[in-house]
């Protein structure tokens, strides 16, 4: 059943929708409209659904009840705290939204990167936590140094909440001034200006087609090959690469730094009969001959491979060996079960498939542990 109230608002709250600093106090009043037969003693207050103690009330007139709120905390939600004046039976007579927070502080930690010199993405951090209680608007602005016009970035939240993406081709060999303005109901703050040249913050895509394979029968080596990211062809920069690899059971990555601009590398000193995960990333450097490094790309998706284990079995009674055999037998059973489900025909059966299964096993262990 719809309960439609008469046209006039039953009561009026003052102040209506105020903005306040954290820690401030407030006295609010609820005045019942003369059309309504309610007295001050018939009223009560709630804040965000919680009844406020009668001790904080005061009747300021026959149909006006006030409430005193002290040392306000930051707003529970950015739409404002709901301060409501009720009649005795719980009905809502009027409400006021309290916006409690802090004025913004200068946004900090502005960092930017350009993907293949085609765009610019910047991110920053809010100056203080207090400004998150209120809706704070951030505007990223940029302009070419020495050339008039301010430009405003339009595409926000592309790399997290505090980020913006400038899709246009920006001028190269020109310093840009970039800054972020923060504003909310309580004030405005402008970050320090960051100056950069697009060429100094270039990154690119990770290398593609990363292949890891055995080196003949060598037990302690793996060969890694990859293709340079496609964008490299278009630009006058060189690429240097970095490889990281780890043993399947470990979370410690080993980094190979001196790969240079080759697109292949031999990993040595590895453990025999072990599965390794390998990733490669790329840094566009010496752009237009500048000798400066760019920004490292993301790592490529991990590729797995295993080093061979020699066929010769150590002679003698080795109890540990026995254990390994049952584990191996169990593993093989699981493996063949998996193969039956996933391999179409036996032609693909081989070491590569076994390695892929190890990768899958590793991943499913990970997700199981994460749950």
């Amino acid at each position: 059943p719809l309960s439609v109230s008469p046209a006039a608002d039953p009561a009026v709250i003052s102040p209506q929708d105020p903005t306040l600093l954290i820690g401030s106090s407030l006295v609010a009043t609820c005045t019942v409209s003369p059309d309504f037969p309610l007295k001050a003693e018939d009223l009560y207050w709630t804040l965000n659904g919680r009844r406020l103690p009668a001790a904080s009330y005061a009747a300021l007139g026959p149909s006006t009840l006030s409430v005193a709120l002290a040392r306000l905390n930051g707003s529970r939600q950015q739409s404002g705290d709901n301060l409501v004046c009720h009649s005795r039976d719980g009905g809502i007579l009027a409400g006021s939204c309290l916006y409690v927070g802090l004025p913004p502080e200068k946004p900090v930690n502005i960092s930017c990167w350009s993907k293949n010199m085609k765009d610019l993405t910047c991110k920053w951090a809010p100056g203080t936590e207090g400004e998150t209680f209120l809706h704070t608007n951030y505007t990223l602005k940029y302009k070419r140094r020495w050339y008039g016009q301010d430009n405003t970035c339009q595409e926000y939240h592309t790399a997290g909440t505090y980020s913006c993406h400038i899709p246009e081709d920006l001028a190269l060999f020109t310093p840009y001034e970039i800054w972020v303005e923060a504003s909310n109901r309580l004030g405005v703050a402008v970050s320090d200006v960051v100056m950069l040249d697009i060429l100094d913050v270039v990154t690119t895509d990770p290398p593609s087609d990363v292949h890891v394979s055995r080196v003949g029968d060598l037990e302690d080596q793996l060969s890694v090959r990859w293709s340079s990211p496609p964008a490299l062809k278009d630009f006058l920069f060189q690429a240097k690469y970095q490889i990281q690899y780890r043993v399947e059971d470990s979370s410690e990555w080993k980094v190979v730094d001196d790969v240079g601009n080759q697109t292949s590398c031999r990993l040595a000193g590895l453990r025999p009969g072990t599965v390794y995960f390998v990733q490669v990333r790329c840094n566009p450097f010496s752009i237009y001959g500048s000798k400066k490094a760019g920004i490292w790309s993301d790592w490529s998706n991990p590729t797995a491979a295993s080093t061979p284990r020699s066929e010769r079995v150590a002679g003698g009674c080795d109890p540990k060996g026995g254990e390994q055999n049952t584990t191996l037998r169990r593993e093989l059973k699981q493996f063949f079960g998996w193969v039956k489900k996933h391999a179409y025909g036996c032609s693909n059966l081989g070491i590569k498939l076994y390695d892929q299964w190890r990768v899958w096993l590793q991943k499913s262990h990970k997700t199981r542990n994460q749950v």
């Binding site: 719809l2 008469p6 939600q77 809502i92």
Partner: protein
């Protein structure tokens, strides 16, 4: 993801519009299929609304997100078309009136939702709202498709969408929250009612009706 689902619904619904004056049995089949798809769309929207409403009401904060919250409905809130109707009246609606009521209601609700979208909220909320509006737009088009396939004229659009919003805008933030609450509630009720409307229509669309109408036009 979801937008493709809507797109396929739309295409399927619109593709079933008969090319008059083609006179074949696929017309009645077309209307029937469109009604089924419109029904499916209302169920889908109902589901989507649950998540959207949950997020939005949490954004408004307590008591708006409390399950038993039932604020007074102020006279001003009447601008949102009400789904609640007398049962006998509802049963007696002609197919045309039934469809037209749905079409008008969702057209207006869509307008109000779009205004909501333009205002301050979190980025996540704005994203969900935009997605929901797109789906709701699909529903309006789908209902229009059904009406056309049955030979009914589309109701005239809501008079001057932007102006009423300015005139009827809530005078303070708290009242606006109440308006938003009732908008979502009304949307919920309409989707619930539409499912019943389209279920009823599904059983009622006879081929004879379509053929008769075409004959009346002299084909």
């Amino acid at each position: 993801g979801d937008s493709w689902g809507i797109f396929t619904f739309l295409c399927a619904a619109l593709c079933n519009l008969p090319a008059l004056p083609a006179l074949n049995c696929s017309e009645e089949l077309g209307a029937g299929q469109s009604i089924q798809q419109t029904y499916d769309l209302t169920r889908y929207l109902e589901h989507q609304l649950r998540t959207l409403a949950g997020t939005y009401l949490n954004y408004l904060g307590p008591p708006f997100n409390e399950p038993d919250f039932n604020p007074p409905r102020l006279a001003r809130a009447e601008r949102v078309p009400s789904a609640t109707v007398d049962l006998a009246l509802w049963r007696g609606l002609t197919d045309n009136a039934r469809l037209a009521a749905n079409y008008r209601a969702y057209s207006r609700l869509l307008c109000y939702l779009r205004v909501l979208d333009g205002q301050v909220g979190t980025a996540e909320l704005r994203h969900r709202l935009a997605h929901f509006c797109a789906s709701l737009q699909g529903l309006v088009l789908s209902i229009g498709g059904v009406m056309s396939s049955l030979g009914y004229p589309l109701p005239a659009g809501p008079a001057g969408p932007p102006a009423p919003h300015g005139a009827h805008a809530a005078p303070n933030d708290f009242l606006k929250k109440m308006d938003d609450f009732w908008l979502l509630k009304e949307l919920q009720t309409w989707l619930w009612r539409s499912a019943k409307d389209f279920n009823r229509l599904k059983k009622k669309v006879p081929p004879a009706v379509v053929t008769l109408r075409l004959e009346a036009r002299g084909f």
